[in-house]
Amino acid sequence: MSSSATAELGAFATFQRSGANTALRLSGRLDSGGVVQAWPTVLEAIGAAAKGTLRVDATEVTFCDGSGIGLFAALIVAWRTAGGTAEVSGLAADILRLVDVAAAVKPLQEPAPTGFIVSSGIATIAMVKTIRDLVTFIGSVILVFVPALLRPWSIRWGDALQAFLKVGVLALPVVCLLCFLIGGIIAFQTIGPMAQYGAKLQVAQVVAVAIVRELGPLITAIILAGRSGSAFAAEIGTMRVTQEIDALSTFGLEPVRFLVVPRMIAAMVATPLLTAFGNLMGLAGGYPVLLANGFTLAQYTGQIQSILTPIDLLQGLVKAFVFAVLVGATGCYCGLRTKEGPGAVGDSTTRAVVAGIVLIVAADAILGSFFHVIGI
């Protein structure tokens, strides 16, 4: 028993089905414009009836380019995938040959959706691998760093100086500006509540403690992560992409000694210095608010001297040093782990900044607790 159905499928296709046989007649221009019109109805019809034999008659096709070839190929592949057979006739021999070439592809395999457990497993494995890599990297840095410090002439001081210029000197204006403003903001925000207790002048103490113990090193480190951690990752990452690091390795030069050590030294020297400048500017930033409330500079500095001890200053500088190690190492690590491709350097840079800032804040919390426990 055979059933027959005929339907007009737009201006470009006529579809006829008779039992196991299906005939499709295409006509007109099969360029991208023609395919746009023909595609939905043709594929829909073919998808619903993809069994038996499909005969495509293209005798009335007046023009066929790559888009048309794509249409014919998709018809053949769809039909073949459903277990049927398909043949095209009426096309020029050259075009028909290209249709055969285009249809000789495997069906497109959509990747199977990954379940929650599998995704979690993949993410966990990736995280463990990253941590292992990081530990390996820190170990290799220490292995290179310590002997290098024992033999200072082996350090590339020129590169370290160049890096110091970028990390330290060029960052000085922005660190000073931000610390000055933050000092002013702290004073401005606290003077109101403090006034309720008649303790306007003690705002100077608040500014001093907040800046020297906490915000001076923190702001400096965050600027370091944004400016220099990202720059380390981008510079070293670009060298990875352009195979310069491979070249170093094949020369027998250790990339860590060559690239990481000078940058780490620059960051470790520059950050405490920047923090010291930042502290000074932060304290200076608080003064205009107190000046506007009628206090003198002598009163302001007196309050600062009464609350701050050398230990507070040292605490801030130790924090700055630790932050510098974390930011420098993270930037260099992300740079050295840069993958291939144009987006890889951008990814490394982003990772360096985000990981740097997260590590800074985490280390700040740990160090703060540690200093509290030991009573300083």
Binding site: A103, V105, G341
Partner: protein, 270 residues
């Protein structure tokens, strides 16, 4: 009477190319007919790539006029330029595939931007085009996961995504082994014969020129001028300029210099 003669797909009228108004190559004039394969050829530093960059509207001409399908290529007319750019595809020397996208996504990109095709149709067309260049089953791969030769073929598929009547190719054979290079030549011939696509390619690969080019434009780095245009074999055997003959015979610079001196002497004595 021949009123129905089709205008050239690209016409160059006394074009000079260069940078910031200074010509590094001048006197380029040629009409390229539909379905032709034309090679722009010359030694290193002759301005081949600069000429190509000018033809595809990335550099302004120093002087002269370029017409694509009868319309002037004017870099100051952004709307017109955008329309013209859909009429040609470009394959860059290193492929210039988008590294973060799979091959299918690379080919789909122009289709997404410039057609109303449904997504499934775009993918099918992109796969068909990749299949035509021998990469039908590699569409899911990233450019970094395939070889240089495959990248060039994928770049051709992307250049032909919108089925432009004209495709420019910059050094298609550069960096490829002879077998892959010959495969690429055959691919261009197949696409040219089957789809009627016009190819303008910059190359100094003589084997490619003699295999696929209908005509060759010879650019001379010494005189900074186009010195000849014609069928490759005719120029090799009968061009008046000894440098052109020598270049197309792949003679070395000493042979070329000797021939140039003897030609000069012949001119002086006659």
């Amino acid at each position: 009477m021949n009123a129905a003669i089709e205008p050239p797909i690209i016409r160059l009228v006394d074009v000079a190319v260069g940078f910031t108004g200074t010509a590094i190559m001048s006197g380029i004039s040629i009409d390229v007919a539909r379905g032709e394969i034309v090679a722009i050829c010359g030694g290193s530093g002759s301005g081949k790539t600069t000429t190509l960059r000018t033809l595809i509207g990335l550099l302004p001409t120093v002087s002269g006029r370029i017409e694509l399908e009868g319309r002037s290529l004017d870099l100051d007319d952004a709307a017109s330029l955008q329309g013209l750019r859909r009429r040609y595809g470009v394959m860059y020397q290193l492929g210039a595939l988008f590294g973060a996208m799979s091959l299918i996504e690379n080919v789909c990109l122009p289709l997404e931007e410039f057609t109303d095709l449904p997504r499934t149709a775009m993918i099918a067309i992109a796969r068909a085009k990749l299949a035509l260049v021998g990469l039908g089953d590699d569409g899911h791969k990233l450019p970094s996961e395939i070889s240089g030769g495959m990248q060039k073929r994928a770049a051709i598929a992307r250049a032909m995504a919108l089925d432009p009547p004209l495709v420019f190719l910059d050094e298609p054979s550069a960096g490829l082994d002879p077998v892959t290079s010959a495969d690429l030549d055959q691919l261009l011939l197949t696409l040219n014969r089957s789809l009627g696509t016009t190819f303008v390619l910059v190359t100094h690969e003589l084997r490619s020129i003699f295999t696929i080019a209908n005509r060759v434009v010879m650019l001379d780095a010494r005189s900074h001028r186009m010195v000849a245009v014609g069928a490759p074999t005719e120029l090799r055997e009968g061009c008046a300029d000894p440098w052109v003959r020598g270049f197309l015979k792949a003679e070395n610079s000493t042979q070329l210099a000797t021939e140039a001196i003897s030609a000069e002497k012949t001119r002086a004595t006659s």
